[in-house]
């Protein structure tokens, strides 16, 4: 289970997150919507420890990241948090000097210390699951955007994180591929993963998410089950946003 409370982040005098609160039940998908500049991406970067919190807490299973601890302790907890949280970036950031297989086994072997043979066996399973088994020996530059995304998903899942973050997963995909991505993500939720997905595509989030969260101005405006949020949003601001997104 993931719980975020009172999360604050600012860049200089610019307050990006002003006390974000929400919970994500295990084995569910949370879709985060909001206009550009609402703080979605910063939220994501706080959740995987790429941005330092200015206030509040992030709890992911046993790891609690908070601000009233020493710098060394904070670093240690960020490290633990990153073992619980995997990220699939908008631009994937695959390692171009490593093959597809190399990308997937890199962290299990060198961070977790999994024996190479075992890591490779697991990687083959994952790549099979994301439909990239045919390309294990290829290098990222030779893959299409959709293929790169599937490798990035396999790479993140190889570390067996409790929570997987997705930043704009549909931006590089055509409609047919968006459909298959939805099916793929749901299959991983069924296997026990929890996900937070940031996207501008309300249609995609409506189809894949269990819950939706609408952000504006660094605050959570509304948070609830996807069906209810989509049909009858309580807050007028949510209503406006969804109406414009139609």
């Amino acid at each position: 289970m993931i719980r975020v409370s009172g999360l604050r982040k600012q860049f200089g005098s610019n307050q990006i997150l002003r006390g974000v609160e929400f919970e994500v039940p295990a084995k569910s998908v949370l879709g985060v919507i909001g206009a550009s500049g609402s703080g979605k991406t910063t939220l994501l970067r706080c959740l995987n420890g790429l941005e330092r919190l200015d206030g509040g807490t992030i709890q992911c299973n046993d790891v609690v990241l908070e601000t009233n601890i020493s710098a060394a302790e904070y670093r240690r907890r960020v490290k633990n948090l990153r073992l619980e949280v995997g990220t699939v970036f908008q631009h994937f950031f695959l390692f171009p000097h490593l093959s597809v297989l190399g990308n997937v086994i890199e962290a299990p072997v060198h961070v977790r210390g999994v024996p190479k043979k075992k890591a490779e066996a697991e990687a083959h399973e994952l790549l099979d699951a994301v439909g990239m088994k045919h390309a294990v020996r290829r290098y990222p530059d030779s893959l299409s955007g959709g293929e790169q995304q599937r490798v990035a998903i396999a790479r993140a899942l190889a570390m067996q994180p409790a929570l997987v973050l997705f930043d704009e997963p549909t931006s590089a995909l055509d409609p047919r591929r968006i459909q298959s991505l939805r099916a793929l993500l749901r299959s991983f939720v069924d296997r026990g993963h929890t996900m937070i997905i940031i996207s501008h595509s309300i249609g995609f989030l409506g189809a894949v998410s269990d819950n939706l969260l609408f952000m504006e101005g660094g605050l959570v405006v509304e948070h609830g089950p996807t069906g209810q949020m989509m049909k009858e949003p309580k807050d007028p601001r949510t209503k406006d946003f969804l109406a414009q997104a139609e």
Binding site: N48, G49, L50, K79, R82, L83, V85, G86, T87, F89, H91, F93, L94, F95, P96, H97, L98, S99, L101, G102, I105, E106, A107, V109, H110, V111, R112, K116, V136, R137, R138, Y139, P140, D141, S142, R155, A156, M159
Partner: protein, 499 residues
């Protein structure tokens, strides 16, 4: 009006000067010699740096007077005296010049004016060497293209050529070489009073000093010969030599027949000939090529290894480290590598660090190129997108692991092409080691060519040597680059995933 008059005056003066100089050209004896480290022949007066002194300077002044001319000194370079004479930079060479077979093909010789001998010098505490025969397995320093160097070459004694006696005797003191063989006049001036050195055995092997003239300049030769006889007969030369401490039995033997008008005996004078043989030359060139390769690879290793901490310090280090690294880089990039080498070679012994020449060149070039490599690395590291770091962090990697496994291998791909260029240019830069008498290809070329006159042919051979070494290197680097680029297409993954 005010402007016109001075101008007219200047024109008038120039005209007068011109007429005067044309008229006096007949009455001037322009002589060339190398004054750097040239004592006691001709050298810069330490107490009046714009003035030249030396026994040959005094002798030429006396000679010119005897010929009814005025002497004019043209400072030149020992190694290129003959070609400078042929280019008419001056009319005669007076620089302790020995008549040799190869020189005789290029220039005319006057009558001899001095009998010189050779003197072997060693360190005071060294009792191993008492004659040249003890030097078979040691390194002997001498001046390039002299009777001494030819004798060492003929006897197959390993030797190192120097531009001037100062460098040779200093390296002897610093134990970079084991002995120095030099003409007695130079030895008397530079080594005899040095407490750290001593003579190894008596002077040996007689030779002649003559004046060199252009071929076809027979009239001037007749005048010079007559002048030499005159200053010998009237005792002028004797008093000059006595003043400089160069008067000895050999001179008495040599001058007496001239002064008494009897026939000159030159039977006991050895006239050295340069024995240039191509087999030997190629052997020495090959050795030089190996030294060149050693210096190039050794210094590149230093540069590649030292460049990384420099780049990291300058890139991510705390402010004090950044300042130090930047200062290092700017110092080594902003000063000539030649000056850096001279500093390491001549400057460091002052604080007790005396490295042999090849090591000095290796270390010096390594330190110099480390500055350049650090900038190549820095640019390559900065070219890696921030997303690569973040992806690595997100997978739980520590900064060090992310750097080692993700950033560095990618940066290496960016760095490889400029590093290849640097290596090829480093390879050519090894030729600056010439300045500190390292026997590498450039030194070998200059010396062998000076000894043989085969500038063109040896130049071609040396170029082929350089190319034979640098082309495969460039080719290898290209292959490496291609194989790395080739990874974007399908390739077995064993190659890059090292457990």
């Amino acid at each position: 009006m005010n402007n016109i008059q001075p101008l007219r005056l200047i024109i008038c003066c120039l005209t007068v000067l011109h007429v005067f100089s044309v008229a006096s050209a007949q009455d001037v004896l322009r002589w060339g010699a190398d004054p750097s480290g040239g004592a006691p022949y001709v050298y810069t007066d330490p107490s009046a740096p714009d003035n030249y002194i030396g026994y040959e300077k005094e002798m030429v002044d006396a000679l010119a007077t005897a010929m009814g001319k005025k002497a004019e000194f043209v400072p030149s370079d020992w190694e290129t005296l003959v070609s400078a004479l042929q280019r008419k930079s001056f009319d005669v060479i007076v620089n302790g010049l020995e008549p040799t077979g190869d020189r005789a093909q290029q220039i005319l010789f006057s009558k001899p004016y001095y009998i010189f001998q050779l003197q072997l010098t060693v360190r005071r505490e060294d009792n191993r060497i008492t004659s040249l025969d003890d030097c078979k397995n040691r390194i002997v320093g001498t001046l390039g293209n002299t009777a001494a160097s030819r004798m060492l070459q003929q006897q197959n004694i390993p030797f190192r050529s120097y531009q001037d006696p100062v460098g040779a005797y200093r390296d002897l003191e610093l134990k970079r070489i084991d002995a120095v063989l030099m003409d007695v006049p130079a030895e008397a001036f530079y080594a005899r009073k040095n407490q750290k050195l001593k003579q190894a055995g008596p002077p040996f092997s007689r030779g002649l000093y003559v004046i060199g003239l252009r071929k076809g300049d027979e009239a001037l030769k007749a005048q010079v010969d007559a002048g030499i006889d005159k200053i010998i007969v009237d005792g002028t030369l004797e008093s000059i030599l006595k003043k400089w401490g160069l008067w000895n039995d050999a001179q008495v033997e040599f001058q007496t027949p001239i002064r008494t008008g009897t026939k000159q005996e030159v039977g006991n004078i050895e006239m050295t000939n340069s024995s240039f043989n191509w087999g030997e030359a190629l052997k020495r060139l090959t050795k030089a090529a190996m030294v060149t390769v050693l210096i190039a690879f050794g210094s590149m290793l230093i540069a590649v290894v030292l460049g990384l901490p420099l780049a990291l310090g300058q890139w991510k280090g705390p402010i004090w480290l950044r300042v130090i690294c930047t200062a290092y880089v700017e110092f080594f990039r902003g000063t000539p590598v030649l000056v850096q080498l001279l500093f390491l070679y001549f400057g460091l012994p002052v604080i007790g660090i005396a490295m042999p020449g090849w090591l000095t060149a290796l270390v010096g070039l390594g330190l110099n190129y480390a500055a350049y490599e650090s900038q190549v690395y820095r640019a390559a590291l900065e070219a890696i997108p921030k997303g690569q770091w973040e992806a690595a962090y997100s997978l739980g990697m520590s900064p060090i692991l992310a750097f080692r496994r993700i950033i560095l291998p990618q940066a290496f791909r960016f760095a490889l092409p400029p590093m290849t260029n640097d290596f090829v240019s480093l390879f050519k830069d090894t030729s600056v080691a010439f300045a500190i008498s390292v026997w590498e290809l450039a030194t070998a070329y200059r010396e062998l060519a000076n000894a043989s006159g085969q500038f063109l042919l040896l130049g071609l051979i040396v170029s082929i040597f350089y190319l034979a070494m640098s082309l495969p290197m460039a080719h290898l680097a290209r292959l490496l680059e291609q194989s790395m680029r080739g990874r974007t297409t399908e390739r077995p993954e064993e190659a890059e995933v090292a457990a």
